[in-house]
Amino acid sequence: MTTARKVSSRFAAVFAPLTGARIMAAIRPLAAIAIAALIISIVLIALGASPLAVFADLWQGAFGNWLAATDTLVKTTPLIFTGLAIAIAFQGALWNIGADGQLIVGAMAAGAIGPALGGWPHPIAILTMLALGAIGGALWGGLAGWLRARREVNEVICTIMLNFVAAQMLSWAVHGPLMERSRSFPQSTMIAPNAQLAFYFQPSRLNCGMIVAVLLAVACNLMLFHSAVGFELRALGRNRRASAFFGLPIRRLTVGVMALSGALAGIGGAVQVSAITHRLFETMSPGWGYEAIAVALVARLNPLAIVPAALLFGALDNGSQAMQRAHGVSPELVYIIQGMVIIVLVAFDAVASSGLRDAFFGAGDNVTAAPDVMAEAGDA
């Protein structure tokens, strides 16, 4: 009984009341988007286009009707999974650039076994798909983590390279061992119908993947801010040397965090196979693993904030296609908007976090030493 209450209080803590600081944290990204929009408007006016019309199209394409809105959610889902993967790894200062490869390996695991799940009950088959995705991604991410922990291999280089390996592995698999029986296209056999996440809202492609993603975001938030492991992870990310001094299991954490990060991306891959593609193709990811870095940075590595941040990027992706269809505006414009949002947000962030430290930047070369002075003032 007490456990139940504790858990519920813990959930309450996740959705803590909006304090001034929390409201400010929520307003800041909105303000950044507004400023980015303003700058884009100037560009559009210079190009002779009407900013209002373009933004209206963008909105129309992203949320204009039921189909558009649900399609935005469908495009958002993989970005939540990969965004969470990046946020968890970056919180531990493990620079996982390999969410793309981890997603692909997760999708491959699910796509390879999926056709064989025909006789299984629907929920079990679905859970098996997700588990396969998690295991595939965890292996791929964990490999990079293990190389970092044991052999001091730089995880940035390692994960980037593993992205290429994963992409080529997928290409080889759908041309070779996993190729469909008819051998007409480079694609794998369709997964069993009961391993598919159903479209409950046809003709929309809306599926339960989004719910899984949001639940995982809540779980990641609990893990990160309310569990002992999450604490150790954040400590590791902020000061590796101090973590060593206080006996944190650095190697175990490194492998574990990279595996967890990979598992999140891998589940994203499995959901994509289970819900959308139903089979493996040569290109499973349009670069979600890379876009996720932007998502995670905009969300300031906060798992709960990943959801709206991914929604922003999903909406921009989806809206831009409609914009292009309607007005022939180049979809590249959307990349410009995305880039502007990130730059403005990062600029905002620097101002906010250095509110007290501003004076030191540009003066000292040793950042850890800089706050000393300010700190002395702290109790003067």
Binding site: F231, A363, T368, P371, A375, E376, A377, A380
Partner: protein, 503 residues
């Protein structure tokens, strides 16, 4: 003459400096003293251009200084050596010197040439330079401070500002260093010396300015004042932080700081820590060589030595970061071994995390507030609040970030964390570096109480007075070898010889 008039600087809600007037004349060594948090570091940062004053003016030799630009300050000839050395961690010490004045001119930033130019100066100061090519991240604090002093001197400064430079210098290095300061004074330069050692301030400085809570409490000529007067000026007439068991006035604080004998008899209790034949090799050099000692409950064992002679390696082995190349460490207690690292900002605290989270870095505390893998945040915060009260750490609360603490309060937090974990053995490395007289006395009292309650303390320090005052047994470490010092052999001269490797 360098002059600050009406300097005011505010940080968020605290007034760090309140209309401070300060004046140092050419050919003068001017000491700046004050408690932790009095505003000393802020003032020298304003001189050096690292901070911009909110109000007030800076004048050097009749010319107004722009302020807020370290580059302009350097061009005007103002050079500062900070308490936390500002070196490029990932570069070798030679490269760091090449980026200073030693690298200027024809050789143009050639590290080897810069090192060669630095050598005569280092030799004159009795500074041992690290092995060639050592990157600064592998240098001890002492080595870093020495490098920073050399680099500062390479700029041929008009005004040299030194923030607590002597804390990590060995007795053998101290005399030539002070001699150098006197020579700089003789050349008509201005030396500003921030220090907590009042005796040293009086011995070497011509004038002393006392800061208290961001204001100038007094300016005195050294010949016309005394340690006790300075201590009183620093702390103020009425002590607003007195509490049960605390030091109630400045005179007591000074007295405790100078206590030369341990008040309790060494309790020959059970063995708490055994270090057997420890050898550590790294970076191609032998860091520790057959280090062998044991520590009993109730004992405070002091290890003296010039910083960078293997102390860091020993602490890291005891903390479990490195495995020794050979030898063993046995902790006999069922209670944990707690470490207070030397470099609190880099190793001891996570500045971007909150105070309660920093407390939870100690494994035993983390365990206490973890149930089935969940961290009990509210309980941990409440507990942290108690610890902050108990150890009188001045902060904005358990949920404020560690970087908002002053240096002294950071150190107190590190000590509080180590003791709160109920350890059996405490390893304290340079535990009072940068602490003012009163805070030092408090930490000393905590260590003594801990030992009296049956704890074992390994006190590694560059401060010989501290070691002589506290330790029940003493050893000297030099080039990775440990030399025990017999009770009757505790003369400063004898220890100094051991530290320099002569004896």
């Amino acid at each position: 003459m360098i002059e600050a008039v009406g300097i005011t600087r505010r940080f968020a809600h605290t007034l760090a400096l309140d209309r401070v007037d300060f004046r140092a004349r050419p050919g003068e060594i001017h000491a700046l003293v004050g408690e932790n948090g009095a505003g000393k570091s802020t003032l020298i940062s304003i001189f050096a251009g690292r901070l911009k004053a909110d109000a007030g003016t800076l004048v050097l030799d009749g010319t107004a200084l722009a302020g807020g630009s370290a580059h302009l300050a350097l061009r005007a000839g103002i050079v500062a050596v900070y308490q936390s050395p500002m070196l490029f961690e990932r570069m070798s010490w030679e490269e760091n010197l090449a980026l200073g004045g030693f690298g200027a001119g024809a050789s143009h930033r050639d590290p080897a040439a810069a090192a060669e130019r630095a050598r005569p100066l280092a030799a004159r100061l009795g500074f041992d330079l690290p092995p060639a090519g050592t990157s600064v991240e592998h240098c001890s604090i002492g080595e870093r401070v020495r490098l920073e002093i050399l680099r500062a001197l390479s700029f041929d400064p008009r005004v040299l500002i030194l923030d607590e430079p002597t804390g990590v210098l060995a007795p053998t290095e101290l005399a030539p260093f002070l001699e150098l300061l006197r020579r700089l004074r003789g050349e008509g330069r201005i030396v500003i010396l921030v220090t907590h050692k009042l005796g040293e301030a009086l011995a070497v400085a011509d004038r002393v300015t006392v800061l208290r809570h961001g204001r100038v409490a007094a300016e005195r000529t050294s010949s016309a004042t005394s340690e006790s007067e300075l201590a009183r000026l620093m702390i103020g007439e009425i002590d607003s932080f007195g509490g049960a068991g605390s030091i109630s006035n400045a005179a007591d604080a000074a007295a405790i700081a100078r206590t030369s004998a341990v008040s309790f008899a060494p309790n020959h209790g059970s063995q708490a820590l055994a270090v057997e034949n420890l050898t550590l090799e790294g970076d191609g050099r032998r860091i520790l060589e057959n280090v062998d000692f044991s520590l009993s409950a109730g004992e405070i064992m002091g290890i003296a030595g010039v910083d960078g002679n293997g102390q860091g390696g020993l602490v890291e082995i005891l903390a479990g970061i490195h495995s020794p190349t050979s030898g063993h460490v046995r902790v006999m207690h069922d209670r944990p071994l707690a470490v207070i690292p030397q470099n609190r900002d880099l190793d001891g605290l996570i500045l971007e995390m909150t105070l309660w989270e920093n407390l939870m870095l100690a494994r035993s505390l983390r365990r206490r507030f973890t149930r089935r893998g969940w961290l009990h945040r509210s309980q941990a915060k409440a507990y942290c609040g108690d610890v902050l009260d108990q150890f009188r750490i001045r902060s904005a609360g358990a949920s404020s970030k560690a970087f908002a603490l002053s240096g002294g309060n950071r150190q107190r937090l590190a000590v509080a964390r180590a003791l709160a974990g109920n350890p059996g053995v405490l390893v304290a490395h340079d535990v009072c570096r940068g602490l003012d007289v009163r805070a030092t006395a408090e930490v000393h009292r905590m260590l003594k109480e801990f030992a009296a309650a049956g704890g074992a303390v390994l006190l590694i320090s560059s401060d010989l007075d501290e070691l002589l005052a506290l330790s029940t047994s003493l050893a000297v470490i030099c080039r990775g070898r440990l030399h025990p010092v017999a009770q009757h052999d505790r003369g400063a001269e004898r220890i100094g010889l051991l530290m320099s490797g002569v004896a």
